[in-house]
Assembly symmetry: C2
């Protein structure tokens, strides 16, 4: 089946036949799919009264394992946002009682962000919902295709992730 990127690439070949636009076949699709997924995630989380950014922070803490705490700096590298943004997020999550800020006993500049019981429950519920939703989207592909796709994407992402971030 055709998609918007097929139309986009065809248009470029017509308008700029001098250029090699093959990279768009992959990277424009990544961008557009991500945009669609953001929109879909937003509605999936609405059932749990969570914004996508709240989910991102809560689940990063949940994944860390007991006692479910990380520094703001560790949260930055996982969520790819800036420090000002993270401060703001932590403030709001703390205001809703989903996380709490604790002083870092080993470094007096530092802070630890810890998931509360309520935060953990919300994160767990929202994750199940998200996975159900995503499974439906991926039903377009066979299990083997999903494996191939994951492996190809890993090859592209790995250089970014393993750079000195």
């Amino acid at each position: 089946m055709e998609d918007e990127v097929d139309r986009l690439v065809a248009a470029w070949r017509r308008e700029r036949p001098d250029l090699d636009v093959e990279p768009l076949e992959v990277l424009s699709r990544v961008g557009r799919l991500s945009r669609h997924l953001d929109i879909a995630r937003r509605s999936a989380f609405a059932e749990h009264a969570l914004e996508p950014w709240e989910f991102d922070v809560l689940t990063a803490l949940r994944r860390a394992g007991a006692p479910y705490q990380l520094s703001p700096g560790q949260l930055l590298t996982q969520t790819l946002v800036t420090s000002g943004t993270m401060t703001n997020r932590i403030d709001r999550l703390a205001g809703k009682g989903l996380v709490q800020r604790l002083p870092d006993p080993d470094d007096r500049r530092g802070v630890l962000v810890r998931l509360t019981r309520a935060g953990q429950e919300r994160a767990d519920a929202a994750l199940s919902g998200l996975l159900d939703h995503e499974r439906a989207i991926l039903a377009e592909l066979s299990p083997a295709q999903r494996g191939d796709l994951a492996a190809l994407l890993r090859q592209l992402v790995a250089p970014f992730d393993n750079l000195a971030d």
Copy 2:
């Protein structure tokens, strides 16, 4: 090579062994790769003094072919933003002399947005630069792998793109 998503999936399997987190292998990678690409695009466009959103609008017009004009509504469907956002973007691009607004001769509610000569030159230059940059990123994959990846992504995106947007 390992990436952040491998670590993320391993963490979930440890913390929530009851869940099937396989969907994350694909969709989390799409999200993270898109985020990295946004950051890389931003620096690629800086050479041409363009923001990513400016590039998106200008190239949509450029792709339309002579006389390089589209309605705001057509621009909406291509860029996946809301109408308020598009009004704002057109205002700013018009202020910089890269596009101009013309009344639609066939529908007095409507407006046509037309690329200026300066806008066309900026769009063309930025596109070449972007493609060079993206080719470097995709050099991780063989030509055959790039083709496979494009095809798999198309299968996932097509249902979204062909839905009644």
